[in-house]
Symmetry: C2
Subunit: 405 residues, 2 copies
């Protein structure tokens, strides 16, 4: 059977409103328990340590903290990131979160004719990436995700069939939303394809440190076709807006100019405070260990609540829970009782999420993550990262009846 | 004589390296006095007040300072800006400096076909704006600047001749680099043209508070075709990266989605610290008053050094000093002895700046600000904002011989 690359309509709106953000707005109503957002737990944000780091930076660097700085970032942070993350300083650039690193990378890879822009993406995939890809006028080549991450063989087939993306975007560890991780075999094959067909792989890895069941993963080998994105948002603080790209020097030079044009540089003080925290290696190692312990316990609590509500064999009820090895989320795939859904009257994921919200629990519908809107997944994403653990049982009780309706 | 709109070549590089940044790199050599950069004086950056504001925000808001926040900005800062700047909260969005506010505004005004993108700009004009316009693939319609700001009658003539920019970018107060300010008559005419021809005026006003000789200016009347950009970079701190756009609600909604796609939101802690400082109205008013006193004294010192080096009638030597009523810069236009320069062997502004740098003083050549690279101004920009005042005489002595060569 010939592969049909699934291409989105180029006339899709460039600035579609984020379903996650809209739902988060509603999820803030009093009495609603939110399993929707991808926020770190408030109690794991190290307010006092940051206060010390900020005052320390102001003491040490004085007015330099408040002054203009280089577009690639403060040398102190570049060096700290190089050490912590194992990158070359010459390839690093500091950005306002990995979201901006993605935006800048997409900007420098744009074709002169926007109709030629094409990105291979995981389907389902991270909403924020889909959003910036659409804002940058990329059409999307949707590649399915299974238990081993992006189905790289399907990407290979699309390339053989003539698809020519200039970029492929992946979450290699604990993918948002499915929780799946790319295998090293697939990571190597992805790079082989990138080098053969001449596209750039963007590996966006914000959950890298949140490996709850095994060692830190690194499934994608180095290549001059690879840009690695990272973020302090899941480990230290999203509100500081510190992320980075690690890129081959020719790409990094173009990122520097794009960063300069876009916002000159990332906040100096924030960079110096993060540099000082990363430089405190004992504290940082202990902090990341503590995060894993806390999120592991949150994950276990949400799985236990699901088992109490759905029984020990949710698959008997048509519910499959995705990979749980790290990150912030559980992905619940809901079996359709009507095959391909033709003529079906059963609720789709948005209707399920709306009904659950009416019942006092917020979740994100699978359709929010659909790279190909014509085939939205019948699934929901639950976050264990930030709601009070004491509310998990009540939340799942409110949710359960809507999953099997 | 028919007006010839001066259009840049659409094949110009999108990410030209910034001449200012390259020169600043060289200007950091030991022994060089830099009159090149547009940095605030280090001694005017309120390090201790910021330290108090940051600790206060962490005390008051706790983990909220480190958490994800809304794409339009923190409510506390939006309200403080509305009060201080006299904008509607509903029209405001917080950005990473006014540079990002400009980038986002250009992004939402882009045509589907990038070849159709056209922006009217001041010539000479702010380098950072020219850079982001090129990065966003806008062709430039260059409009001259005279002592009353952008020559709006020349823009009108270009419009009558059929030019159809979707945007017009201006610095209304103490324009970078010429120091000229737009008159209210021209401001009103500009808005009349915008409403008639359906383009958007972007008024980027980072020097608004640095009115050294008269009251604060506001030459452009409100309109649903006007986006006002502002910045804390010249008053409080560039390193915090806090700016804003004040826009009609339909434009603001699109800016919100573009901001969300680009970097989610501006750093939460930085926003709350700035909100607390703006809320301390007595301190803020006194601080801005003190800035004006200091920059007025710096300007006077640089003018006096120029008079000592060039005599009381620099025009007799072919040197015209531009408007000096505010901001950070003096603009020295250098008369050409060879008319239109055809066959001339006299040095252009880059050669002058290079020779000055070899002699130990850094300045920015006029050509860096050329919206139309085919007619670079024979001029240089001197900054009085950040070099030690005690060095002004030596700097100008080193420079003087190169200006009249």
């Amino acid at each position: 059977m010939p592969i049909q690359p699934r291409l989105t309509d180029a006339s899709a709106p460039r600035f579609a409103s984020s379903a996650i953000r809209d739902l988060l707005d509603q999820a803030r109503q009093p009495g609603v328990i939110s399993l929707a957002g991808g926020l770190p737990a408030a109690e794991l944000l190290p307010v006092e340590r940051l206060d010390v780091a900020l005052s320390g930076a102001l003491d040490e660097y004085g007015a330099h903290c408040l002054q203009y700085g280089p577009s690639v970032g403060e040398p102190a942070l570049l060096e700290a990131l190089a050490l912590t993350e194992g990158h070359d300083v010459e390839g690093l650039i500091v950005t306002a979160g990995s979201q901006q690193a993605l935006d800048l990378t997409l900007s420098i890879l744009e074709h002169d004719d926007p109709l030629q822009n094409l990105a291979a993406v995981e389907n389902p995939g991270y909403v924020g990436a889909l959003q910036v890809l659409r804002a940058r006028r990329y059409r999307l080549l949707s590649i399915p995700v299974d238990a081993d991450g992006m189905a790289v063989d399907e990407l290979a087939a699309a390339l053989v069939s003539g698809a020519r993306p200039q970029v492929c975007y992946v979450n290699p560890s604990f993918q948002n939303p499915t929780g799946a991780s790319l295998t090293p075999e697939r990571g190597s094959e992805l790079i082989r394809l990138a080098e053969h067909y001449g596209f750039v792989v963007i590996s966006d890895d914000p959950y890298a440190e949140l490996h709850l069941d095994g060692p830190k993963r690194n499934p994608i080998p180095d290549s001059d076709r690879l840009v690695r994105l990272g973020s302090m948002s899941k480990t230290l603080s999203p509100g500081l807006r510190i992320g980075w790209a690690a890129a081959p020097p020719p790409i990094r030079s173009r990122l520097e100019l794009a960063k300069q044009a876009g916002d000159l540089h990332t906040a100096t003080l924030n960079q110096l405070a993060v540099a000082s925290i990363l430089g405190d290696q004992r504290w940082w190692t202990d902090h990341c260990h503590g995060l894993r312990t806390s999120y592991r316990s949150r994950r276990t609590a949400l799985l236990a609540a699901l088992e109490r509500a759905l029984g020990s064999d949710p698959q008997a009820k048509g519910i499959t829970i995705g990979d749980q090895a790290g990150g912030f989320f559980l992905w619940l795939s809901l079996e359709s009782k009507h095959g391909d859904g033709t003529g079906s009257t059963e609720p789709d994921s948005i209707e399920i999420a709306r009904a659950a919200l009416d019942n006092g629990v917020a979740v994100v519908p699978g359709s929010a993550f659909a790279a190909d809107p014509s085939t939205p997944p019948r699934a929901i994403r639950l976050s264990y990262s930030s709601a009070p653990v004491a509310d998990f049982d009540l939340a799942v009780t409110r949710l359960a009846s809507h999953l099997t309706a």
